[in-house]
């Protein structure tokens, strides 16, 4: 445990040193005045833009708007992906038909759904939610399918022997057995939907971080662009580290899988 804590400590130290150095280099480059300040702002400019957008409340309202859409889209993707994935993992003929379609759709960038969504739903939040859904549903259903497939046959037989019904099999064997793969899929799906959301908001939206980026571009506000991009990364990292990281660690520990 002690060794682990020490390793953790030095990792944090290295990371802090790296980011401080990065900002220092940035400051030096700015000081050399190679590019116009309107195209390459200083760290202080970005910090000021971040503070003023935070103080005006626009940063907060944009973040919550984005996260709200993400939550709806991602929850839908979770439900659809889980259902499709279990169906594909359990029944061969569904895997050969629907499964191949899902796999094929992975090569389609989710933002390519926006024109279609705009025609179906109009330029509404529903269209954005749809893009978020399409962005992550195939990743989630693919990992759900793989999760079902990797359950050892003997674990199914053991439940069968006790006379488990089809529903009991799903409830007591399939769902818990697929969880490690599912958590990985959700983590991946979440990062896909976050990116899809930003792309969709950038093209059309009246609120959200993507919209704020667009506003920064329209107003030629380079410090704001830097600040918002930083926030998008920070939110993404925070959810990855605070939600999916611990969930994955817990599942790995509980299921007795080797620490990767």
């Amino acid at each position: 445990m002690r060794v682990f804590a020490a390793a953790n400590f030095w990792r944090v130290v290295r990371q802090v040193v790296f980011y401080v150095a990065l900002i220092a280099v940035w400051q030096v480059l700015y000081g050399l005045a190679i590019w116009k300040p309107s195209l390459f702002p200083s760290p202080q400019d970005v910090w000021r833009a971040l503070r003023s957008s935070a103080e005006s409340g626009v940063l907060w309202s944009s973040t919550t708007a984005s996260l709200g859409r993400l939550t709806i889209g991602f929850t839908l993707a979770f439900g659809v992906g889980l259902t499709v994935g279990i169906a594909c993992g359990t029944m061969r003929w569904i895997d050969e038909t629907v499964g191949s379609l899902v796999l094929g759709m992975q090569s389609l960038p989710s933002i390519a759904w926006l024109p279609l969504a705009a025609l179906w739903f109009g330029l509404t939040p529903t269209a954005i939610t749809f893009v978020v859904l399409m962005g992550s549903v195939s990743a989630i259903s693919t990992s759900a399918r793989d999760g079902v497939r990797t359950i050892p046959p003997l674990q199914r037989r053991a439940a069968q022997v006790f006379g488990a019904s089809r529903w009991q099999m799903v409830r007591h064997v399939t769902l818990p057995g697929m969880l490690p793969s599912m958590v990985r899929g959700l983590k991946l799906g979440w990062s896909f939907s976050w990116r899809s959301l930003m792309a969709a908001e950038l093209i059309y939206s009246t609120a959200g971080l993507g919209h704020l980026l667009k506003a920064g571009r329209d107003q030629n506000d380079m410090p704001l662009l830097f600040a918002v991009m930083g926030v998008i990364v920070a939110v993404g990292l925070a959810i990855d580290r605070l939600v999916f990281g611990p969930a994955e660690a817990w599942v790995r520990h509980r299921w007795g899988l080797a620490q990767a």
Partner: protein
């Protein structure tokens, strides 16, 4: 109900009225069709097992032992013949016939206690009743102090004890054991064989035990069925009327093991001579 019946001091044949056997297989065959050829896994099996009996099936790998077990478990169905359990045709798996597998049949996301509970959950036993039963069987297999441990923290022998407790907890009429100790090291196997004898004496379970270890069969069984491959048939039936509990090193057990081995070897030569394979 085989719930910890009082210690058995008479052989079951004397206790049981000569009523119908618990399991009856009549002319049972199972043929597998594949794209390349048909395989007769077992042919014309006639087996009867009485309540409270400990029957071992011995044979080389590929002789159809696992097919036989699947048929009795209800996981598979015969292509010919009939199987009666307690006088009724056997159609599907159920908690009156439970299998202890060779390995990897526990659920890694459940701790020891929850694994033992599993069958009862499926059966719909709840609350205090379930807790009491689980406590009893955890104690029977000496795992009470490990009830919170996870499967990956257990040794191979402990895993098999959990499987045994899980199977016994639903109080099956018949326990099916599919080479349960084959993957264990020799010391652990000795300990578990000893424990299984004790559990059998205490519970009066009816056990169908599959193994390829002749010593194990001589040690545990009332009756040994010797199976031969290509297709699987019962070649010989050897009663083992030794007193219990038995010790694997006593003359009686060693002699019976030798007799079983002779039956097996004899068949091996015969099989080679006639060139019989699995393909029909």
């Amino acid at each position: 109900m085989l719930a910890l019946r009082s210690k058995r001091d008479n052989p079951p044949a004397l206790v049981m009225a000569p009523s119908a056997p618990l399991l009856v297989m009549r002319g049972v065959s199972r043929r597998f069709h594949t794209s390349r050829h048909d395989t007769m896994a077992v042919r014309d099996l006639d087996i009867e097992i009485n309540e409270g009996e400990f029957v071992c099936v011995v044979g080389p790998s590929g002789c159809g032992k696992s097919t036989l077990l699947d048929l009795v478990a209800g996981l598979d169905h015969p292509t010919k013949g009939e199987i009666l359990f307690d006088g009724r045709p056997l159609r599907r798996p159920g908690s009156e016939r439970v299998v202890v597998f060779q390995d990897a049949a526990l659920y890694p996301w459940l701790n020891v206690r929850a694994n033992v509970e599993f069958g009862l959950r499926i059966k719909g036993v709840r609350g205090r009743e379930r807790d009491t039963i689980v406590d009893r069987y955890l104690e029977l297999v000496n795992l009470t102090e490990f009830e919170r441990a996870f499967v990956h923290e257990l040794s191979g022998g402990m895993k098999q004890r959990v499987q045994l407790a899980r199977a016994l907890a639903v109080e099956p009429r018949m326990l099916l054991m599919d080479e349960p100790f084959a993957a264990l090291d020799a010391q652990t196997r000795d300990v578990l064989q000893e424990e299984l004898q004790q559990i059998w004496l205490r519970t009066g379970a009816t056990i169908l035990f599959i193994t390829h270890n002749v010593r194990e069969a001589a040690l545990l069984a009332d009756r040994v069925l010797v199976m031969t491959p290509g297709p699987g048939r019962i070649k010989a039936e050897i009663a083992v009327p030794l007193q219990r509990p038995r010790n694997p090193d006593t003359h009686g057990v060693v002699d019976f093991a030798a007799e079983i081995r002779r039956e097996l070897q004899h068949d091996e030569y015969a099989g080679k001579a006639s060139g019989s394979g699995y393909v029909i």
